[in-house]
């Protein structure tokens, strides 16, 4: 399994033409990409929260009730897998464009 994950890491790096980098540099780039993808997913989520739901969302996210938080996120993002895919691919494509 570990080998498989490493291979996948290599495959992303290869796709970006960065497989010759040392691990530290790869890690830096991956960290930045993870942060970017995460922020973009949250922005999408924010776009799905209507004005009337903002107070409720604030209250849920401030509280400690994880079930309620998950439920809220699930309702707002039932297509999470697709969004995740889309954002990963979009970030990859934007980086590779005219690189």
């Amino acid at each position: 399994m570990e080998k498989e994950i490493i291979n996948k890491c290599e495959s992303i790096m290869e796709e970006m033409g960065l497989s010759a980098l040392d691990d530290k540099r790869k890690q830096e780039i991956m960290d930045k990409m993870v942060g970017l993808v995460c922020d973009r997913i949250i922005l999408k989520l924010m776009g799905r929260i209507s004005d009337v739901e903002v107070d409720e969302a604030n209250e849920i996210m401030t509280g400690e009730d994880e079930d309620r938080q998950l439920e809220f996120l699930r309702i707002k993002m039932p297509d999470f897998n697709e969004i995740l895919d889309e954002e990963i691919n979009a970030v990859k494509a934007e980086i590779l464009k005219d690189l």
Partner: protein, 456 residues
Amino acid sequence: MENKNESKIWEKDEALSKEPKKVESPETFETNDDNLEKAKEIENEEKQETTGKEVKEGKIETKEFDQFIEDVNKFNKSFEVSKTEKPKIFDRFKGLLSKKETADQRDYEKLSQDILKKVFEYGKVNPDILNNDSIKEFLEKAKEIANERADRVDKKIEGLNKQTAEEIEKINKERPGLFDKISARFNKNGLEIVIALGLLAMLAAMPREALLDKIASGDVGMQINTLLSQLNLPQIHSFLPAKYANLALIASTAAVLRVAKSDFLTRNIRKYFGSNDLKEEVIQEEEKESKESEGFDVSSREEVVKKKDTDESFNQVAGSSEYQEAFKKYQEGELDDEEKKEAGDDINESFNQVAGSSEYQEAFKKYQEGKLDNEEMKINKEELEMLNTLKEMIAKGEKVEVKYKKGPDWEFGWYVTDIKEKKGKRPSVSLKRFQGNDAKYINVDLSKIELAKKKY
């Protein structure tokens, strides 16, 4: 034939590393006769076609390898010259540049990536080629080129981050603090939220029988693997540094289990599945096998369930070799500082979250000390031979078909998905069998199976 080829490559490798390299100076290279150069280029182009073919499994053709090293040398020389004489050298380089007359940084990047890919392919067949001087020199250059590319990738990410930051700023003005709260929730437990959402999305989208199979399989390695691919998590893992791949796996395993334990998800799973005969059948079969193989005297169903739960939780939490290895290292203080911090955080968090109860921790301790079960591990010579054969076949990635002793009869068509070995206990084997479009999973004692085609 294969050995002969390999030995030839070795001879060539040695020759390459011993012989002073015939490196033409850029001037000499430039003043070669045009016709001769042209002829060489045509010849190189032809050879290049051969080099472009996939490396044949298990062997490297000597001629192909020689040509490859020649190309690598050419690349190395050309790259050095390009630093001072751009782009004069490139017309001498077109054999490697698809007949292009000139080349730029991107051509070099593309070319270095192609050559690098080839180096990896060759390296798989014969790792010693990485000691070849030409290849070592190339790898340094490829790294230099990749670093320049990485600088551009950094700038791109910076630009994208700037755009995103502007959007965040805008949304923060409209809805102060909400982005940060959700972000904190997303980051609180690493991948957990991603897995949880993915799992929930999967619940909504997957045919219940298919998901049921995965849950019923009891094979945590396969379960996690399947879940990760179902949840598109490999992509997330792809962004994680290889160094932390192990820990990420542990963390995500733990997270899946934690999520699976949450009341919220349990409620949803119950709601989603309701009662299901197939699930009952699989679980009962597992329990039956478990009783038979472990000699567990059970008059009370509760006792079986309790033991089964403990074993399963235990397998799931601590069963993966990665987890055990990392945990062992962590306990022995063998991880370096950075790893230790990561491992400490991840393992403590995962362990506390998933198996946080003192009951599980106690069980884990006992497990490590081999005290979980007083039953001695008795395994005969034939079983040991079969076990080793199974391991070898699995390690080679072979599909391992076995027959399973069901009552007085042997049932064919079972495949080994995992071997579970616990200190102080007999090894057990996870089996899978296809039934139409569905698959059935059981976990049985070693004595219950034999290879369909006996090899030992």
